[in-house]
């Protein structure tokens, strides 16, 4: 009954020069699901993303992607040399060709329609993130992978971007893997949180993770801020809202399974959430 996940990583470990970067980490992302990866600097978040993207091979364990899975990837940053003349329209059509009309639609969707003829090096941090998101969306992805999408964006811009990501998920029904180093802003838009510190410290619904001792130990002060935030959104989450699909329990570290939904049910539940938030 359970729809197969878009992407599943099973017990992957990554060792480099004798240093353990990731230790038996598992995760799975379903269609329409937003999974947020949080953790301190050096926790291996970017390495895990690169493993999921297939850019890096795991030392141990397997990464399975749904057949024909199309990934839209938004890197942490983009360093295009100033000597390269590169208008946004060209950037969007660099490898996968795109028609100008399609570009305009997607740029409007992310709120960067004005930037189409600007040189990419002249964009502000927030504009560049939106253009990167537009490029990922142009590929009509089944899965969006966003590595720290709000870096170099002010708090107001961060909230806007997260809302945008949430609404894109609702409209397009794609899965989203999001990396963030702080949870309280992504909270409302996330179905599953995986707290990573080389291993999976804890995972589950954002409210549960935010109360988890290991999370509190890692994020201390932030955890308080989160608790307040979490209360204000408590109403929108039913008690059975656990988003870890049955049969995808992760490691011994995970303590938040026990929810017996199949994936189908889950999907509907997500949509209801989305509606609730926007209503």
């Amino acid at each position: 009954m359970t729809a197969p996940p878009l992407l599943e990583a099973r017990n992957i470990s990554l060792t480099r020069d004798g240093r353990t970067i990731l230790d038996t980490v598992s995760l799975s992302i379903g269609r329409g699901e937003i999974v947020t990866l949080i953790g301190p600097n050096g926790a291996g978040k970017t390495s895990l993303v690169k493993l999921c993207l297939g850019l890096v091979k795991p030392t141990d364990g397997t990464v399975t992607r749904a057949p024909g899975l199309k990934i839209g990837y938004m890197p942490q940053r983009l360093a295009v040399d100033v000597t390269l003349p590169m208008p946004v329209s060209r950037f969007l059509s660099l490898w996968s060709r795109a028609r100008r009309a399609d570009m305009q639609v997607v740029l409007a969707e992310v709120g960067a329609a004005h930037a189409i003829d600007r040189a990419i090096q002249t964009l502000s941090g927030g504009e560049l993130q939106r253009v990167l998101l537009a490029r990922a969306l142009l590929r009509q992805p089944d899965l969006l992978v966003l590595d720290e999408p709000v870096q170099a964006v002010d708090v107001h811009g961060q909230i806007e971007l997260f809302e945008l990501i949430g609404s894109i998920r609702n409209r397009r029904g794609c899965g989203v893997l999001l990396v963030s180093h702080d949870l309280h802003l992504v909270m409302a838009r996330t179905d599953t949180v995986i707290c990573l510190n080389r291993h999976v410290c804890c995972h589950g619904k954002p409210e549960d993770v935010s109360r988890h001792p290991e999370y509190v130990a890692l994020f201390g002060r932030h955890a308080d801020a989160l608790a307040i935030y979490h209360h204000s959104h408590d109403h929108s989450h039913a008690d059975d809202g656990c988003v870890v699909p049955a049969g995808h329990e992760h490691t011994a570290h995970s303590e938040h399974q026990g929810c017996g939904h199949d994936h189908h049910h889950l999907h509907g539940h997500d949509q209801a959430h989305g509606g609730h938030r926007h209503g």
Binding site: Y73, A79, P85, T122
Partner: protein
């Protein structure tokens, strides 16, 4: 009377000979500049100027290898450049030293080793200066064919991998996720640099090859809003530099290779007075 006619004839013949090697030099230089312009743009965009410099410095080792094995200097250069490029890639992945330090070490040690090898070979008469700074007026028919044939090959290859090359120049991870065969494209690009160094040695010499790659490209930046426009502009500016440099070296007796580079640098300075186009 007869003597006068004879003298006139000789002068005429000398003139033809003179014109001939001038023409050959000009054609060779123009042919080279048409390729180094676009290729140099990619080197500038990818911030590989010092990488190109290092490969060209190792070319002297290729000359020695060519003499030693009898495979010819140009084949020797291409082989050595490719080997050095491969070694560099492997060493950079180790991340034990900064990239610039690594390039500096390889650049100067291969240049020295090349000179030592040529000195040890001894029996072969080698005009070191012409290898270092080029000797465009000594270009023969065979060189001319090599430059135009090789140049056409490199341009065709560049056109073939242009889109993927641009994609990975913008962001390598992004390109890989989107399905660009990154490794193959990079290897193809390195091969093109190696071939161009081998071809350019005769014109401007291994110490000045990078100049012909970098300077026209940098000068073209101001005039372009799209990558392709910049590539075409760089080719034209390179041709201008070759014509101006060759002309100047005829007017005043100065070495041609350095004159071409000086002309390119002058064009670059002029370009900087033009307002940028985005």
């Amino acid at each position: 009377m007869i003597t006068t006619i004879f003298t006139a004839m000789t002068k005429r013949m000398e003139g033809t000979v003179m014109d001939d090697f001038l023409l050959r030099g000009l054609l060779a230089g123009v042919g080279l500049a048409l390729v180094t312009g676009p290729l140099g743009c990619v080197i500038v965009w990818r911030r590989m100027a010092y990488f190109g410099d290092t490969l060209s410095h190792s070319a002297l080792l290729g000359v020695a290898l060519g003499f030693l094995t009898g495979i010819g200097t140009q084949t020797g250069i291409v082989l050595v450049c490719l080997t050095i490029a491969l070694a560099l890639t492997l060493l950079q992945e180790q991340r034990r030293l900064g990239s610039d330090t690594l390039l500096g070490i390889i650049s100067h040690s291969t240049l020295s080793l090349g000179m030592i090898a040529l000195a040890v070979l001894g029996s072969v008469r080698v005009d070191l200066l012409s290898y270092l700074f080029g000797d465009i007026l000594a270009v023969g028919d065979a060189d001319l064919y090599a430059i135009w044939g090789g140049g056409a090959l490199v341009l065709a290859l560049l056109g073939w991998i242009w889109r993927p090359l641009l994609a990975l120049t913008v962001d390598e991870d992004l390109a890989r996720v989107e399905g660009v065969p990154v490794r193959r494209v990079r290897l193809g690009f390195t091969l093109m640099i190696a071939i161009i160094i081998a071809l350019a040695m005769k014109i401007v010499g291994i110490l000045l090859v990078t100049a012909l790659l970098i300077i026209p490209a940098a000068a073209a930046r101001r005039f372009a809003r799209a990558p392709e426009a910049m590539a075409v502009m760089a080719a034209l500016i390179g041709v201008g530099a070759v014509v101006a440099g060759l002309g100047a070296s005829l007017q005043v007796d100065i070495p041609t290779g350095p004159a071409i580079v000086a002309a390119a640098a002058t064009l670059f300075l002029i370009s900087q007075t033009v307002p940028a186009r985005g």
